[in-house]
């Protein structure tokens, strides 16, 4: 069952072409990697998928429960409601808010009380707020952040901030999760832990995951398939083993990294 269909998407900024005829297909439940040298356009693709940018040409289609939805031109919050969650390359947490707040705000779109209830703290408010805290704590538990629920996000160590971003994205109840360099800046032990968590949440939350990463140990270990992007174009697509031995990929990118993996 296809969940995401990116067909020949090109994005130009004036004279600069960031992505060119990019096509990606994701099946439900897959864990797919998107790799490529810096500046290849990986985050641009994420921004196109989540509606921050609009494709210059091409279509992006999300399929959920059999219904297809074209994402072109939709606003980011609509795309999130349609089932797409993401993290950011440069962490975009709500720094001056607490860990708990960061997560429960992400649950807002599914909250079941309206303005009147929020103004007067009616019973529906009190019920839902309790639920919000419970659900948030469960998510924080995955990342062992429950004890820090009242800590300001900016005070967390870097690794925990990255975890919190993932927890926040999970709180939006996505079907497709986009992770943008979740292991950036982590040491091997943290990366190994993250690799396990990603695999675990995929199963637990029935997610499809598309992952941008530079850390090849994570990518090779966990991704079932990998797309390779270079200068805005997909130059290869296959299993980790296929990619490892693909000449074009090695030329473009993997050459040095293969020694480090």
């Amino acid at each position: 069952m296809s969940i995401l269909s990116v067909k020949k998407v090109t994005k130009s900024f004036g004279g600069l072409t960031a992505t060119s005829n990019v096509s990606i297909e994701l099946e439900e439940g897959e864990l797919v990697g998107l790799i490529g040298p810096n500046g290849a356009g990986k985050t641009t693709i994420f921004n196109l998928l989540t509606g921050v940018y609009m494709p210059t040409s091409g279509t992006i289609t999300l399929t959920k429960n059999g219904t297809e939805k074209v994402l072109n031109g939709l606003k980011p919050y609509t795309i999130c409601k349609a089932g797409l969650g993401r993290t950011f390359q440069n962490i975009r947490l709500f720094k001056d808010l607490t860990v708990l707040d960061n997560v429960r705000i992400a649950m807002h779109k599914n909250v079941k009380y309206g303005f009147i209830s929020s103004l007067f703290h009616l019973p529906s408010y009190q019920r839902e707020e309790k639920k919000l805290i419970e659900e948030s704590m469960k998510l924080l538990g995955i990342f062992k952040l429950e004890s820090k629920k009242d800590e300001y996000a900016k005070n967390l160590p870097y690794g925990e901030q990255r975890h919190l971003e993932i927890a926040r994205a999970l709180a939006t109840n996505p079907n497709l999760l986009l992770l943008d360099e979740p292991a950036a800046g982590m040491n091997p032990a943290e990366t190994a832990e993250l690799t396990e968590i990603i695999g675990w949440i995929r199963g637990k939350f029935n997610l499809t995951i598309l992952l941008i990463e530079h850390d090849m140990s994570l990518v090779m270990k966990i991704c079932e398939r990998i797309y390779v992007l270079d200068h805005g174009m997909i130059i290869a697509n296959g299993t980790p083993n296929e990619i490892k031995s693909n000449k074009r990929v090695i030329e473009a990118y993997l050459g040095e990294a293969a020694d480090n993996a």
């Binding site: 969650g85 705000i105 779109k109 703290h121």
Partner: protein
């Protein structure tokens, strides 16, 4: 069986009732005389204005320099209503009509302009407020520059208290809800907020409209107490007045706004006869706060009732329990 003082909101209810009764007592025995009463009204109007501007600017991050415009709409609509219906019912109707009109204008203005960022939004709201002032200056029904005089006075401590405490409670409740938190997330990081499913434009407009509604209430109260209105009362300087209160108290702190509102109302009244000195003081205050303590008095923290429960524990016999 829960003790009576542990019932949700009981502490709040008791402190509110006490505040109301104490001040009512002081008024009835004329300890708070006419002169002080005017100061009290100014304090309450300032509180409503600053708390509502804080909602827009401090909590949702939308810099509005046009708050006075909304206040003037509330003031004029209420005045015109209560002049034609000089009863308590007319007054209440006037307040709600004034607030609703202000909210409507806020919504209409907000929809196109809230896409703008930072300083652009500030200038747009300033322009909008000036347009409103010029309209009131030129309409026959508002009597132009000469203003409206003899507005029936219906504001007494009861109404003042209800509207002031009501505004504070509703805004505080809102900010503690998911909808309020959505607004706050916009201030923190608009792009991240959108990415987690929040329609940022909708919530900016909601905060703006809600803030305008409250400013309208403040305007209506002003009209029906100080009984004279003219467009120049609600110019850029009035918007700055409110901004100074919010900045002094702390952008993002409700209790900060309340404290600063009280402080500056007192200072304003004291410096009444020296308007230039007052403005020089305000302007220096703005510059000094921004350079040396931009978070103002309270930053984004609040005074909580835990202060009172700690006092309570001090007097109770069970030591060691916090």
């Amino acid at each position: 069986m829960k003790k009576i003082y542990e019932v949700h909101g009981m502490k709040k209810l008791v402190s509110l009732a006490l505040t109301f009764l104490i001040i009512q007592l002081l008024i009835s025995t004329n300890i708070i005389d006419d002169y002080l009463q005017a100061t009290l009204v100014t304090i309450c109007i300032n509180i409503i204005l600053s708390v509502s501007l804080n909602l827009i600017t401090g909590f949702t991050g939308q810099f509005s320099l046009g708050h006075a415009g909304f206040m003037s709409i509330g003031a004029y609509v209420c005045a015109l209503t209560v002049i034609r219906m000089p009863t308590t019912l007319g007054f209440i109707l006037g307040v709600f009509l004034g607030a609703a009109t202000a909210a409507l204008v806020g919504c209409l203005v907000g929809l196109p302009t809230l896409r703008l960022q930072g300083d652009y939004l500030a200038i747009a709201t300033l322009g909008m407020s000036e347009i409103i002032r010029i309209i009131f200056l030129n309409l026959k029904i508002t009597n132009g520059a000469a203003g409206l005089n003899g507005i029936p006075q219906f504001v007494n401590w009861l109404w003042l208290f209800i509207f002031t405490a009501g505004t504070i409670l509703l805004i505080t409740n809102f900010l503690k809800s998911s909808h309020g938190r959505a607004c706050i997330s916009i201030r923190e990081d608009e792009i991240a907020s959108e990415s987690i499913g929040i329609n940022t434009t909708k919530y900016k407009v909601i905060a703006f409209t809600f803030g305008a509604f409250c400013a309208g209430i403040a305007g209506a109260l002003y009209a029906s107490y100080f009984y004279f209105l003219k467009p120049d009362l609600f110019g850029f300087l009035k918007s700055i007045d409110v901004l100074v209160i919010v900045v002094l108290g702390g952008l993002g702190s409700i209790s900060g706004s309340i404290i600063a509102a009280i402080l500056l109302a007192l200072i304003s009244t004291y410096l009444q006869s020296f308007p230039e000195v007052r403005m020089i003081f305000y302007s220096l205050l703005l510059v000094i706060i921004m350079i040396f303590r931009p978070q103002g008095l309270m930053g984004s923290k609040e005074i909580s009732f835990s202060v009172f429960s700690k006092l309570g524990n001090f007097f109770s016999s069970k030591k060691g329990r916090v």
